[in-house]
């Protein structure tokens, strides 16, 4: 069934209707979340009580808006902090990995490549618990040996960053490798012939060529970190990132302030994703 093959009108119509229903279904939950951010009611549910901006800007009970809700604001800050660290680290390691697999052949390369892919196949919750178990073992060993209590090895932001980094690096590696493979090595050779040191050649020729992929990998890593739930859940300490805070609030049954946060998240991630796609297209 392609346009050049004649099809009966009814079949085409049913197919079009199916596609339409699919996209409505896709948009439905997000649209609902957005609409109820403006409901002037204590609950994100019917009946509709009228339009309000209160869940964004309200500053008095019962309507404390998002911008006056300290716990949510601080967890957004925590999420941004974690996401910047995770994306910075994973782009860095992703770049070195991409260069390693692209430029060198060595015994065990195939095995290392498969190991590099493995974090994608391990369920997030298992990554979380394995890092939790291992870090607390190290913390125990350190404490027994020196009596030092290492805070960083207990559930908290350091472990959250480590946990997210452990699988996001694979994705960064794949994104950066995909562009590095297309790079024309003769450009680098030309620079070397003109007297550049290998490092200068890479810095002035290869890295600028890779830049769209580096930015792309950073944005993807940022978004994945920001919305990560499973791994974070097992490693979180007292400073909860946004997804964990929202999860706790949701279990309690929350006010439409969660819808307001969700609307910001939808806007933020759409803008980032669209900007990234525009960048890749250039």
């Amino acid at each position: 069934m392609i346009p050049s093959i004649p099809q009966s009108g009814a079949v085409k119509l049913i197919y079009k209707a199916y596609v339409l229903v699919f996209f409505l279904w896709l948009a439905l939950p997000l649209a609902t979340v957005v609409v109820f951010a403006f409901n002037d009611s204590q609950f994100p549910s019917l009946p509709w009580q009228g339009f309000t901006w209160g869940w964004f800007f309200g500053d008095a009970r019962p309507q404390i808006g998002l911008f006056h809700e300290r716990r949510i604001l601080s967890s957004i800050g925590t999420s941004v902090f974690v996401a910047i660290f995770v994306s910075g680290l994973s782009v860095l390691v992703g770049t070195t990995n991409a260069f390693l697999f692209n430029r060198y052949s060595f015994p065990g390369r195939g095995l290392l490549y498969i190991l590099m892919l493995l974090p994608l196949v391990v369920p997030g919750i298992v990554l979380g618990i394995s890092i939790l178990v291992f870090s607390s073992r190290i913390a125990g060993v350190v404490q027994d040996a020196s009596g030092l209590y290492v805070d960083a090895l207990r559930p908290g932001l350091v472990l959250v960053i480590a946990g997210q980094f452990s699988f996001i690096t694979t994705i960064a590696t794949l994104v950066i490798s995909a562009r590095l493979i297309k790079f024309d090595r003769s450009l680098e050779e030309a620079a070397l012939n003109l007297g550049a040191t290998p490092l200068t050649a890479v810095r002035t020729i290869t890295i600028p060529y890779l830049l769209p992929a580096l930015i792309g990998a950073f944005v993807v890593a940022f978004l994945m970190s920001f919305e990560n739930f499973n791994t974070t859940l097992m490693l979180v300490g007292s400073d909860a990132p946004l997804t964990i805070t929202m999860f706790d609030r949701l279990k309690e049954g929350s006010t439409p302030v969660l819808n307001a946060v969700s609307l910001l998240l939808i806007l933020g991630s759409s803008v980032l994703a669209l900007a990234m796609i525009a960048l890749q297209r250039r």
């Binding site: 093959i5 994100p44 549910s45 070195t96 892919l117 919750i125």
Partner: protein
Amino acid sequence: MTGRGLGFYLLLAPLVLWLGLLIILPHIDMAIVSLRTRVAPREYVPSLDNYAAFITEPLYIVTFLRTAIMSVLATVITLIIAFPISYYIAKIAKGRSQAALFLMCLIPFWVSELVRTFGWIILLRETGVISGFLQWLGLADQPIEMLYNDAAMMLGLVYTSMLFMVVPLTTTLESLDDAVIEAGYDLGGSGFSVLREIVIPHAMPGIVSGCIVVFMLSLGNYLTPTMLGGKGSLWFTELIYSQFIVRFNWELGAAFGFCLLGASSLIVWSILRLTGQTLERTMGEGK
């Protein structure tokens, strides 16, 4: 740069540190923890008790099997829903509308899974939008609770993993030359036989990578079963969470973790084996 000088080792070091400290050693340690039993405070003996408990305790093994079967079901449903959509995007839509449809598939998945689940909660719960709509239509005379059951959970799982099926399918279908499909029809094939003998075999790598990712995401999901599922839809990850965080029985929790990892690896491996694909190829084409 073919010799292995300092540069090689500088590039190797981050990879080895990352995989060693965050993937390999933690998993080895988790294996050790899962293979021991506490006999007194801070005193352990090696044993298989945790795995024995997993097999003999009905709650554990039933939850495990249920989770695996439901994940397979979610994967199949996702594939069936996604295939016509991917085909439409790859082969029927053209130019701008093609790009726009593809983008419309992508956008919802850049938003946190939590927000998507929250949306379904608002829609499905007793005071929710669908229940209200049905009452307004006169189809129901009292609020209907559509949340907290297997159907709601399945809906959430399928919704959450849709993108990971649509993207690889669309990518492989796009690479199928229209002329091949035309040739199939010219040679007297019906719509069904062209689909079965040309389109599906060509899309196989996409189907495989989509199914692998969707299966793994469903199996390892925690949020959707917890928020949308009912008392009867206990998910295996919820057991892991409760052993680790609530009961503080890390030994049993670690054993559960390995069972989950084992199930997911086994299924991924057998799908790859059955279809003659490799992990490298599948992951490369999946993104």
